[in-house]
């Protein structure tokens, strides 16, 4: 009987964990809007340019993976109280721990870091949907020492997927929710290690969505997992295969004007009716199966060794509309909206027309088909759907030794080689009734008359492109990284000490498969490889006052190579790089106090982080150049000072009260320089200074606090009610408006602050509730039982409609000095979100 209680408790806890995971909101991006948005090659006559910030690629994270919480820390409630309390509730406003960017957080599987060397991002979607088997995590926040690798400034999460480490189970789970998928079914079977030393695990999950909050939403996901373990003496051999094949529509940010015109903040421009059926224009696909082969060896307590071979290959793409010699098909194009017209009568007619014909705010597919078939006799497609593809194959070898030199002294060494090869190209996926399209860069058409500049690929001039053929650009980026790490960990009676050192050697090389007409000499073939050698050092000291009170101090100095997308200015068309080679430098110091008493738990962590010599590249349509330009920012420097604190007090054995606070100052603290490379001129056309010193870092709340009440009955109930306040958040700003030249055409008597003041979002208060109940359906003769676990999670109980993020459009009307020509775009939250799941468990 006591065993059954224990079992039930464990089961309940698992359920809780699972359920809370499921209840997480649609992964709000915790990252900055992705940099280097690919901007497409379409222009209209005056050269107005389609650029991607319309459909900013936020959705990689935003919708890529529901479970894509940055820190899956609820699992480590006992280990990291602060993360467990905040990561869930703060995520609606894209909270980022310490205001750091994605590359300062590491996610590893089987000890191999999954962060992509290309952009630093963690491809959560690759194992998305496998909630039942991806729960074996260890989180180390900040500079805390870990036994596996060097760590990172933000945090490291180490996920182990070995079949033998999963909880043996047979479960069937089903979920309904009003998020971007409405149903999820999952079946998981885990066999514990048998007497021959074999353990197996398998899991499949299906996610489906159609409509919901957003009428155009579609979601289709299938994920799978196979794990096999074989114990042989002191060796463990593991095989893991996992993958997630997923297609879903993407959400776009919209301006407030569109919200007003459509009378809905659920308005989305990226779809329309085609023969009466909803057809989305923006989608995203991902499928990158990964294989891990791990060998672990443990001698008697003194040597532990783990080696992993990792290979992953796959494709991801986003689908979008493109066009040539035809009017912009996007219904939210600024020239189609009333705000474009200075003439009131015209603005009113346009507004009236849109309100009388709401379909005008959606894509008119039937019309696009008609145009493709009738605009020219040979049916050259004027509109088509294209996939912007990233094909990758990644390979990694990692080996680690942990040697116990003395009972109190531990020595870890790690070596790793990674090779990531990315191929980027665009592919025509649907000619929309047309018969072909041309591989031309019409953007170059106006600039260099009668030249070959128009050719995207001089090696195949005037190429007619058919469905599923490449178009636009095609290049490969190979990134290799050698890594060596060593760490000493010394445990004394009152002190814990550690020191770690990491050295990496990173090599970047671009290979162009197109000879671009504008950059014929800088585009084709392999580029000169670049080598970056970087050193990381960290050390820390913990003073253990007693078993309950700990004080620690950690420090780290490191340098990181620039991300490859920040190093090449416009890799789609050429191999031109930043003018100077720097590595991003960082200095971090953190200190804290931990109280771990039976009734009261308290953590307090203060940190200072200084990042310098950062680089960034932004690509967007520039109204002054009348062209697509790449702004290469150099010498970006940011300062993060803040505290993170959390407290949990057990009122009664079943009721606890929790609170957490995050606040700090997150600013740019120097003036970066910029260099401009237009996409149609093979030289740097401008350099200057960005006046953004003391500007706030954007995209996450600078102040946030959490208060919660948690009830866990001795029987099978659990309930958690929390309120979170999220304040002081700015939307990402456009550097162009913070240059000297920006004010040149400002209307007289206009304060310059109109131009430069960053936009702050209103503070928000969010109420979340989760309820869980577990009961036994039937007890079997062999002692096992069938359990049914129910869970309901609700976010934003007050059903508030709120802005979750946004950005100033990078496009800026320099000539007019008018910031309202291209107004800010926002993401809106869908009001109350719920997720309800049932799980049958044997």
């Amino acid at each position: 009987m006591p065993q059954s209680v224990v079992m039930r408790t464990i089961v309940f806890l698992c359920c809780l964990i699972h359920a809370v995971l499921l209840a997480q909101p649609p992964a709000k991006s915790i990252w900055l809007p992705k940099k280097n948005q690919w901007v497409d090659s379409n222009l209209d006559k005056e050269g107005w340019k389609y650029f991607q910030d319309q459909y900013i690629n936020q959705t990689d994270i935003l919708e890529g993976e529901e479970q894509a919480l940055f820190v899956p820390s609820i699992l480590h409630a006992s280990k990291d109280l602060y993360s467990s309390l905040t990561s869930f509730s703060f995520s609606i406003r894209r909270y980022r721990m310490k205001g750091l960017s994605s590359r300062y957080f590491t996610q590893s599987i089987q000890e191999v870091s999954m962060n992509q060397l290309s952009d630093g991002n963690i491809p959560w979607v690759n194992w998305g949907g496998l909630n039942e088997v991806t729960s074996n995590n260890q989180l180390y926040t900040g500079l805390k020492q870990n036994d596996y690798q060097f760590g990172n400034l933000g945090s490291v999460n180490i996920m182990q997927l070995n079949a033998s480490q999963l909880f043996p189970q047979t479960t069937f789970a089903t979920t309904i929710s009003n998020r971007n998928y409405q149903q999820r079914w999952a079946f998981t079977k885990v066999w514990a290690e048998n007497k021959n030393g074999w353990a197996f695990a398998g899991s499949i999950a299906i996610k489906k969505g159609n409509g919901g909050m957003l009428i155009s939403n579609q979601f289709n996901g299938f994920s799978y997992f196979v794990g096999v373990d074989k114990f042989y003496k002191r060796h463990l051999f593991s095989f893991i295969l996992l993958g997630n094949r997923q297609w879903h529509t993407r959400q776009s940010a919209v301006t407030k004007e569109l919200v007003g015109l459509s009378r809905s903040n659920l308005y989305q421009p990226g779809w329309g009716l085609h023969q009466g059926v909803i057809k989305p224009a923006n989608g995203q696909f991902n499928h990158q199966p990964s294989v891990f082969l791990t060998h672990t060896y443990k001698s008697v307590e003194t040597i532990e060794q783990a080696t992993t071979f990792f290979y992953s290959q796959g494709e991801k793409y986003t689908t979008a509309l493109d066009w040539y010699n035809a009017p912009d098909p996007r219904p939210d194009y600024y020239r189609y909206l009333p705000s474009f017209f200075t003439d009131t009568a015209l603005a009113n007619s346009v507004a009236e027309q849109i309100q009388m014909n709401p379909a005008q705010l959606q894509i008119n597919w039937d019309h696009l088909y008609w145009v493709n078939q009738h605009a020219s006799s040979d049916k050259r497609a004027r509109y088509w759907l294209e996939d912007r593809v990233e094909q990758s194959n990644k390979l990694a070898m990692n080996t680690r030794f942990k040697i116990l030199l003395k009972p109190s002294l531990e020595w870890t060494i790690q070596g790793q080689f990674k090779r990531e090869c990315y191929q980027y190209f665009k592919r025509v996926s649907n000619l929309l009734g047309g018969s072909y399209t041309m591989n031309w860069n019409q953007f170059a058409e106006d600039n260099l008359p009668s030249s070959t500049a128009i050719q995207n690929d001089l090696n195949q001039p005037d190429q007619k492109v058919l469905t599923s053929e490449r178009i636009g650009y095609h290049y490969q980026m190979v990134i290799k990284e050698w890594l060596f790490m060593t760490q000493l960990n010394y445990r004394l009676p009152r002190f814990d000490l550690f020191a770690a050192l990491k050295y990496t050697h990173t090599i970047y090389q671009r290979t162009g498969f197109y000879r671009n007409g504008v950059f014929p000499l800088q585009s084709f073939g392999p580029s000169h490889p670049d080598h970056f050698r970087n050193l990381f050092v960290k050390t820390g000291l913990t003073y253990k006052m007693n078993g309950r009170n700990y004080v620690y101090l950690h420090g780290a100095i490191s340098s990181l190579p620039p991300l490859v997308n920040d190093w090449y200015l416009s890799p789609r068309s050429n191999a031109i790089k930043q003018p100077k080679q720097f590595s991003e430098q960082s200095l971090m110091i953190e200190a804290g106090y931990i109280l771990n008493a039976p009734l009261l738990k308290l953590t307090l962590n203060g940190y200072f982080i200084q990042l310098t010599k950062g680089m960034d590249v932004m690509s967007f349509y520039h109204d002054g150049y009348r062209n697509l330009v790449n702004y290469a920012l150099n010498n970006l420097s940011t300062q993060h000072i803040g505290i993170e604190s959390s407290i949990a007090y057990q009122l009664t054995p079943s009721l606890s009260i929790n609170a957490a606070l995050h606040m700090g100052q997150f600013i740019y603290n120097q003036r970066p320089t910029y260099a401009v490379l237009a996409d149609n001129e093979p030289f740097i056309s401008e350099t200057g200074i960005l006046y953004i010193n003391r500007f706030p870092l954007t995209g996450f709340p600078h102040t946030a606090c959490y208060t919660g009440l948690a009830y866990r009955s001795s029987s099978n109930w659990m309930m958690n009610l929390s309120a979170s306040f999220l304040g002081k958040q700015w939307i990402s700003f456009n550097p162009l408006r913070r240059t000297y030249d920006a004010a040149q055409n400002l209307a007289p008597n206009t304060a310059q602050s109109v131009l430069i003041q960053p936009t702050i979002l209103p503070s928000e208060m969010v109420l979340d509730l989760s309820v869980g109940y577990s009961f036994r359906l039937k007890k079997l003769i062999n002692g096992k039982s069938y359990y049914l676990q129910c869970f309901l999670g609700m976010n934003n109980l007050m059903n508030r409609s709120m802005i979750t993020g946004g950005f100033e459009q990078l496009r800026f009307d320099v000539q007019g000095g008018d910031i309202n020509q291209f107004p800010n775009k926002y993401y809106f939250s869908n009001g109350l979100l719920y997720s309800c799941s049932l799980k049958f468990k044997l």
Partner: protein, 445 residues
């Protein structure tokens, strides 16, 4: 009674049968917009008051076939539609219009709420009028968001054939019409030139000459994607949209296929044009100044001026207002070689106004050295019909000089117009007749 019963039964079945046959009403199958055309494009021109900007308020609906669009970027933010009566330019605020309004497409336009007005004399349909500048109202194109409200596609149809136009047939009623000019060629200075300035994106004009005499200008946008192509040197036919800008007659082609100049230049065949000048190439309201023409004042400092009336340019001379006791002015034509030409003939048009006795003569010289002092050479007056006698106003019509035979001359000759008059105070002695001269032509067999 029985009969009543029978008839009731029969009636019942009849009613039943009727009921069976009944069908629900249905609209005829949809075959296109149900709009009815109620106005022709010609009517728009007729109802238009020159200089006015008018708003359509009477539910006018016109139809037409698209004859030009921005396919090659020569037409910017506009399409041209044509019905059987006339054609008109419709200005639309959009790019890539050729995709939605391809050549040959029949559209119907609901004009209610739209405007029409002139741009450089050309009638256009526009979306709105901007009157922020009180001196000149700006015509604004129709916003793309309103296309659906006003323009309805009917379907692709065969393009109307261009109408063949001779030089003397140009008329305002041809505005925006698709026309064909035959036996034309680029002026010698305009052959093998780029159609337009693709580097600086500046619109460029080239003179197109009729073999039979007359000039029209081919206007091409610097944004046209054929702007950098070179003009051909041959002779042939040219199709395009006729337009005017002020007084200038212009043609705009849709693409270079509209220029079919495969033939030999006309100087080689038929009557050779040794000289042809209609003065359209010169700047209005200024003294004629040109390297080849000599505009000289022997006395009185009066020069031949370019003037314009009813979109036609010509030279004009008068002593009026000079106060000079005597004015003698010369307009010497570019020298003409009469060697190896058969039966050369000179002709021109003149018009007089307020004739009070000044004289205009046409003269020829074989010994003038061309150095700017014709009065030192020997000149022979040619017998010509020159306008006179309109003492109270402007002559109603141009007076043709009649063919003036130059058979008796050979070698390099100079021909000149010589004006003699005065502007004395005495109205009796005053001789300040104003003469206009146009269409000076020397041809040979």
């Amino acid at each position: 009674m029985k009969n009543v019963l029978y008839s009731m039964v029969i009636l019942y079945f009849v009613l039943l049968a009727c009921a069976c046959k009944q069908q629900l009403d249905a609209a005829p199958p949809y075959t296109g917009t149900s709009l009815k055309v109620n106005t022709s494009i010609r009517d728009l021109y007729t109802s238009h008051i020159p200089g006015n900007i008018e708003r359509f308020i009477n539910n006018e609906v016109i139809t037409g076939i698209v004859t030009a669009n921005d396919e090659n970027d020569n037409f910017y933010k506009s399409i041209v539609i044509q019905d059987s009566t006339a054609a008109i330019t419709v200005r639309l605020d959009g790019f890539g219009l050729s995709a939605i309004f391809p050549l040959g497409m029949r559209v119907m336009i609901k004009l209610n709420g739209l405007w029409m007005g002139e741009y450089g004399g050309m009638l256009q349909i526009v979306g709105s009028v901007d009157r922020t500048n009180p001196l000149q109202a700006d015509l604004m194109p129709l916003p793309a968001a309103l296309f659906n409200r006003h323009i309805f596609a009917v379907g692709l149809q065969t393009m109307p054939s261009p109408i063949d136009i001779r030089y003397n047939q140009f008329h305002d009623s041809l505005q925006s019409r698709l026309i064909r000019l035959n036996q034309v060629e680029f002026a010698a200075a305009d052959t093998a030139q780029p159609y337009s300035d693709a580097i600086n994106k500046i619109t460029t004009s080239h003179s197109v000459k009729f073999c039979s005499g007359g000039t029209i200008y081919l206007r091409t946008s610097g944004f046209a994607n054929f702007a950098a192509q070179k003009t051909p040197s041959g002779n042939g036919s040219m199709v395009g949209i006729y337009s005017i800008f002020g007084s200038q007659k212009q043609l705009a082609i849709r693409d270079t296929r509209d220029v079919q100049f495969g033939n030999q230049r006309c100087i080689q065949t038929g009557p050779a044009v040794l000289l042809w000048e209609d003065f359209e190439q010169f700047t209005n309201n200024q003294k004629l100044s040109n390297a080849q023409w000599q505009n000289l004042a022997e006395s009185g400092q009066v020069f031949f001026q370019i003037q314009s009336q009813q979109n036609n340019r010509f030279v004009s001379i008068s002593a009026l207002g000079t106060g000079q006791p005597t004015t003698t002015s010369w307009l010497v034509l570019p020298p003409v070689s009469l060697s190896q030409v058969k039966s050369p003939q000179l002709s021109f048009l003149t018009k007089d106004q307020f004739d009070n006795g000044a004289s205009l003569r046409v003269m020829i010289s074989t010994n003038y050295d061309g150095k700017g002092q014709p009065w030192k050479a020997k000149w022979t007056t040619l017998k010509a019909n020159i306008a006179n006698g309109s003492s109270t106003g402007i002559a109603a019509n141009w007076t043709p000089s009649g063919p003036i035979n130059l058979n008796n001359y050979a070698g390099l000759v100079y021909i000149a117009f010589k004006y003699e008059g005065n502007d004395l105070n005495s109205s009796a002695a005053k001789k300040n007749t104003n003469f206009w001269v146009d269409d000076v032509k020397i041809i040979a067999q």
